[in-house]
């Protein structure tokens, strides 16, 4: 089995430094991590490899520090890491991203059996790159797969979709996106990651190396434009209550008893 897993480095949001004045995130100071759903996709690929043999190519597009998540992937059990990095790729929306990743797949693993992506990313949360890669590569695909079973080159999948429990089947080559519900990623020891950092080789490819049309990548290849980014929490009341639990609860009822009473239908004042 030739497996390709697409992974993205995302900011670790629980550690995100907030700018208290503007209520926005200081993204440039954020620690990076492997997007959770991508990690589940990698875990799924490793389980296929363990059962059916094969090799795993991990692919990531991003700035040079995205190499970290590729090394982490090698530590988990991937065989090969490929980083797509170029200033010209920056600012890509999902249309440009899916095109760029598809170009790279055609280059580094043209005879793939299965591509696995995370169903969604924790930063931009579009759920779109996987389905758009299915179109770009013209292969059958299913999004948000939870469980699956491989029989020769037929992949049978289960997922919950809009209140329906679906069982689906497709012939490989194909592409799936993996939800975070199953395929809980294995624990990798620090030593394992260390080894991957010391020994693993990461191939670095740019626009020319993957044969991408420069007009279809990065900001220029992206039809969507972001006008502004802002924090919705700025509209919140943001009342801070301190003190003992008892005092805090009294203050809560004094200030918001009417509102809460209205919601629960009881007189709390």
């Amino acid at each position: 089995m030739k497996l390709v897993v697409c992974v993205k480095q995302v900011p670790m949001v629980s550690e995100l430094p907030w700018d208290a004045k503007t209520g926005t995130l200081k993204r440039e100071h954020a620690e990076g991590m492997m997007n959770p759903a991508c990690k589940h996709a990698l875990e799924a690929a490793i389980r296929i490899k363990e059962k059916h043999g094969g090799d795993i190519t991990v692919l990531s597009m991003g700035p040079s520090q995205a190499e970290e998540v590729l090394r982490e992937a090698l530590g988990m059990g991937a065989d090969r890491g490929v980083l797509l990095t170029s200033r010209r790729m920056a600012g890509a929306d999902t249309l440009a991203t899916s095109y760029t990743l598809a170009c790279a797949v055609r280059k580094v693993c043209p005879d793939f059996d299965l591509i696995l992506c995370g169903a969604h990313t924790s930063d931009s949360e579009t759920w779109q790159v996987g389905p758009q890669m299915m179109e770009e590569l013209d292969v059958p695909g299913v999004a948000c797969v939870e469980e699956f079973e491989l029989n020769c080159n037929i992949l049978r999948m289960k997922r919950e979709s809009d209140d329906f429990l679906e069982t689906l089947e497709m012939e490989l080559p194909g592409l799936i996106t993996v939800s975070t519900r199953h395929n809980i990623p294995r624990y990798v020891s620090f030593a394992g990651v260390e080894n991957a950092f010391d020994e693993g080789q990461i191939e670095v490819l740019d626009v020319e190396a993957i044969g991408a049309d420069p007009a279809r990548i990065g900001i220029g290849g992206s039809p969507t434009k972001i006008l502004s980014v802002y924090s919705p929490t700025a509209e919140k009341k943001g009342v801070l209550i301190k003190g003992s639990a008892k005092k805090a609860v009294e203050e809560l009822f004094d200030k918001f008893g009417d509102l809460l009473g209205g919601v629960i239908g009881k007189d709390l004042a």
């Binding site: 900011p11 949001v13 629980s14 995100l16 907030w18 926005t24 249309l95 969604h120 924790s122 930063d123 949360e125 579009t126 759920w127 779109q128 389905p131 758009q132 179109e135 059958p140 299913v142 948000c144 919950e160 979709s161 809009d162 209140d163 329906f164 429990l165 679906e166 069982t167 689906l168 089947e169 194909g174 975070t180 039809p223 969507t224 434009k225 972001i226 006008l227 924090s231 919705p232 929490t233 919140k236 943001g238 009342v239 801070l240 209550i241 301190k242 003190g243 003992s244 639990a245 008892k246 805090a248 609860v249 809560l252 009822f253 918001f256 509102l259 629960i264 239908g265 009881k266 709390l268």
Partner: protein
């Protein structure tokens, strides 16, 4: 261009109750946008037994309905549906195409957008038309911690998926009428390469949590399984449902049905009590629709506390107990 009318399209997603509702919500919002640009609001519906939906979209305000009715479309088939919608969009050239961000819509819309080379904003919670008559879509990022206003002025059509429950539908009105355009199924659509082996309706479970007016949600900051259980008593007093974060579910303090977050449930209560939750995005993404949030955490800098309307800096377990006491005292009906 075969169509000299300006149109805003809404894709008719109808497979279950919530998919149907979001379609009606989009018809209502689309109509409002159409009034600003001088366009007609059109619904597009594919399937076999679809007369009911054509009627419903008419009574909820669609001016025109494009209908492709065929036995082979009875089940949702994503490749055929995507190829068909692409073809209709190329032929009739709507300005805007809106699709509900249901599980189906989130997979279907990007495929249609890719085929059309169109820009698509995801899971939007706001739509408006700006001075240049562009669609401005507001999309959440980082679990709702940030919002982005996005345009795709050069793409045809401008596309967005929209989070269910964002807009209000127009009340059903039997007296409304619509123009119905029946389109025969083209005979050169691609074969569906993914086979649907079975599709079973999942029995209703946990829907209560998703629709609850009040939710009491606990995280690892509750300290122990025993203390976490106190949230049940508090919930009873508040008439609330109990939700939990992923670490809590993993630690077996609560069942998977209670999971609020990615891979779990999205909630939209009028009041949310959040106990001992730091606010990982997997969780905060699912609570952005809560109207009023009371968060309790020892750490005033936790993401959850920043999202809250009222942030109580204290031990979550103790505040839970104090609330139980105070509620018993005050609410003597």
């Amino acid at each position: 261009m075969t169509n000299n009318r300006r149109e805003i399209w809404v894709f008719g997603d109808y497979r279950n109750y919530f998919q149907n509702r979001v379609t009606l919500q989009l018809i209502a919002k689309g109509k409002e946008l159409a009034a600003q640009t001088g366009a007609d609001l059109c619904a597009v519906v594919f399937g076999n037994d679809i007369d009911e939906w054509v009627w419903e979209y008419t009574c909820h305000g669609a001016d025109r309905i494009y209908i492709v009715k065929d036995e082979s479309l009875a089940q949702y088939k994503i490749e055929i549906y995507a190829a068909l919608l692409e073809r209709l969009a190329r032929e009739y050239e709507p300005d805007i195409l809106l699709i509900g961000a249901t599980a189906f819509g989130k997979e279907f819309a990007p495929r249609v957008a890719k085929r059309l080379g169109a820009g698509l904003s995801a899971d939007c919670i706001g739509l408006k038309i700006d001075k240049e008559e562009r669609l401005v879509a507001t999309a959440p990022a980082f679990g709702g911690n940030l919002l982005a206003d996005i345009v795709a002025p050069d793409s045809k059509p401008q596309m967005a998926t929209v989070r269910p429950g964002t807009f209000k539908e127009i009340p059903h009105n039997d007296n409304l009428d619509s123009e119905k355009i029946y389109i025969p199924l083209p005979d050169d659509l691609p074969e569906e390469r993914v086979r649907l082996i079975s599709s079973e309706k999942i029995p209703e479970r946990g829907v209560k949590l998703e629709n609850a007016r009040v939710v009491v949600c606990g995280g690892r900051g509750m300290g122990s399984k025993r203390k976490f259980r106190n949230l049940n008593e508090l919930a009873k007093l508040l008439g609330a449902e109990v939700g939990a974060t992923r670490p809590v579910v993993y630690s077996n303090w609560a069942s998977h049905d209670a999971l609020v977050g990615q891979a779990g449930k999205n909630i939209r209560p009028q009041a949310l009590f959040s106990f001992g939750i730091s606010g990982a995005i997997q969780h905060t993404a699912a609570i952005t629709d809560a109207d009023f949030i009371i968060a309790v955490n020892k750490n005033p800098n936790a993401t959850m506390m920043k999202m809250a309307d009222v942030a109580i800096v204290a031990d979550a377990g103790q505040v839970c107990n104090a609330l139980i006491k105070e509620l018993k005292k005050r609410a003597k009906d």
